[in-house]
């Protein structure tokens, strides 16, 4: 395993050379990720790795892609999507226009899942889905809406467990080991790069999803991000986090009311 001091040096160098601040990422996970890429790429001396990162912007970009964890799935945690479907969308549906932000959307599976829910609820036409991530490579994949066919069986099961009743194959066309999701689902999606560490609020939303992203941040950065979401949420809007994430260390919970057992909070003042 690399040393703490080596990790600190890397964090400082990356900040100095590229302006990206990993200083507030959860150290335990970050250290494992850096250690992984260091060994995968065959380095034996940390200073060689450091100088590669400093001098080769392409390599730096690859390293950032590798140390951010991009694992995702469609309808991850079906019970969460069930609550969205049954409780949240009917409330949002009364509005003339629905603005949704997926922060840390990775390769987009979550955004397509949401579009399917909205379409089934007859709300997609009046919705807009902003999907952002710090990693430009995953956004390229997300834009295409093409996911590996081998995952589709699990996704179809998740979809059904979330209360979906259609034949899941209605939503995509299978081709050469890939599933291309229908283009009408993507019509209301806007993808762009946004860094939760340093960028600001860019709109007001009725629903913000940021799932399994805060776990990579320390308490201080979590606080910043939750406050950024607070600034970006309309009154009576909803904030949805991952199943093991919470707002309670970050913001006064009297401003928010939790929905059932899910990690969904409604902004009440």
């Amino acid at each position: 395993m690399i040393e703490d001091i080596e990790l600190e040096t890397l964090i400082n160098d990356v900040y100095e050379y590229y302006g990206f601040d990993f200083g507030s990422y959860s150290k335990a996970s970050l250290k494992r990720r850096v250690n992984r890429i260091f060994h995968l790429d065959g380095f034996t001396h940390f200073h060689d790795f450091l100088s590669k990162v400093r001098t080769d912007p392409e390599y730096y970009k690859k390293m950032v892609d590798e140390i951010t964890v991009n694992v995702t799935e469609m309808f991850r945690d079906p019970s969460f999507y069930m609550v969205l479907r049954k409780e949240i969308l009917p409330l949002l549906g009364t509005k003339p226009f629905i603005r949704i932000w997926h922060a840390g959307c990775s390769t987009g599976e979550e955004v397509y899942s949401m579009a399917i829910l909205l379409k089934e609820a007859g709300l997609l036409h009046k919705s807009i889905l902003y999907a952002t991530d710090v990693n430009a490579t995953v956004l390229e994949t997300a834009k295409k809406g093409i996911f590996p066919l081998r995952m589709i069986k699990d996704y179809a099961d998740n979809y059904r467990d979330s209360g979906g009743q259609q034949d899941f194959s209605n939503f995509y066309i299978a081709n050469y080991g890939f599933a291309k999701f229908n283009e009408d689902l993507a019509e209301k999606m806007v993808f762009s790069q946004h860094n939760l560490v340093s960028d600001n609020s860019f709109n007001e939303f009725d629903l913000i999803l940021c799932r399994n992203v805060l776990i990579y941040f320390d308490n201080k950065l979590q606080q910043r991000v939750i406050n950024l979401f607070d600034d970006s949420l309309a009154i009576l809007g909803f904030l949805a986090l991952g199943t093991k994430e919470t707002i309670k260390y970050s913001i006064s919970t009297s401003k928010y009311k939790q929905i059932e057992k899910e990690k969904i909070w409604r902004k009440i003042k």
Binding site: M1, S26, K27, A28, S29, R32, R33, V69, V71, N212, L214, I215, Y216, D218, N219, Q222, G242, T243, K244, E245, T246, Y249
Partner: protein
């Protein structure tokens, strides 16, 4: 094996297991009425659909309080923490737990190696690692890391394990401080920190 070594200064006991380990845990944990100022962290492989079962079972049977694991929850003595399925469980220097959804290791998330290695980094000689029954090689590297950091290593006697492969693999690749059957593991845990020198 140092049969009579009494362990002091322990802050965390971390227990890993896979197939067959639930049986051992259910014999051990309900018998622990009180521990001497350390936290117990459990990392077992299970299906996401069994998510609540272990928590519910232990909450029902155990005298110690089971704290639900959320990201950045403080790790406090005298509580039991159970790694949630589908996340790796990591330890932060600030003595909190954190989670990570990165690739499976040894076909497993949570991986025992990942949690053991991470705990060893933070807790060093104040850590005890216990590896139970299982049919996967997860855990061995983790125990090596615990030992290298000065912690104490206990492996369930493979003869007493429902699935001997996992403890056997550890014994083949390292020298545990103790190799114990289920009843002895219980006695061992009760003895930890009982006599401060």
């Amino acid at each position: 094996m140092e049969e009579n070594k009494i362990i002091t200064g322990c802050k965390v006991i971390i227990i890993g297991g896979s197939a067959g380990s639930l049986y051992a845990l259910i014999q051990i944990l309900p018998e622990i009425v009180k521990v001497n100022s350390f936290a117990i962290v459990i990392v077992v492989h299970r299906k996401s659909s069994d998510e609540q079962t272990l928590e519910d079972l232990l909450t029902l049977k155990s005298k110690l309080e089971v704290k639900p694991v959320e990201d950045k929850v403080p790790l406090l003595p005298n509580y039991i923490y159970i790694a949630p399925s589908n996340y790796h469980l990591l330890f932060e220097k600030e003595e909190t737990l954190s989670l990570d959804t990165s690739e499976k290791i040894n076909y497993s998330r949570p991986s025992i190696d990942v949690s053991f290695e991470s705990a060893a980094e933070v807790y060093g000689s104040s850590l005890i690692g216990i590896l139970l029954s299982g049919s996967n090689k997860d855990g061995t590297l983790g125990l090596q890391a615990i030992q290298a950091a000065g912690g104490t290593v206990v492996v369930q006697n493979p003869l007493s394990a429902e699935m001997p492969f996992m403890p056997n693999n550890a014994i083949l690749n390292m020298t545990p401080d103790f190799i114990l059957n289920v009843q002895e593991i219980l006695e061992f845990i009760l003895s930890v920190n009982s006599t401060e020198i």
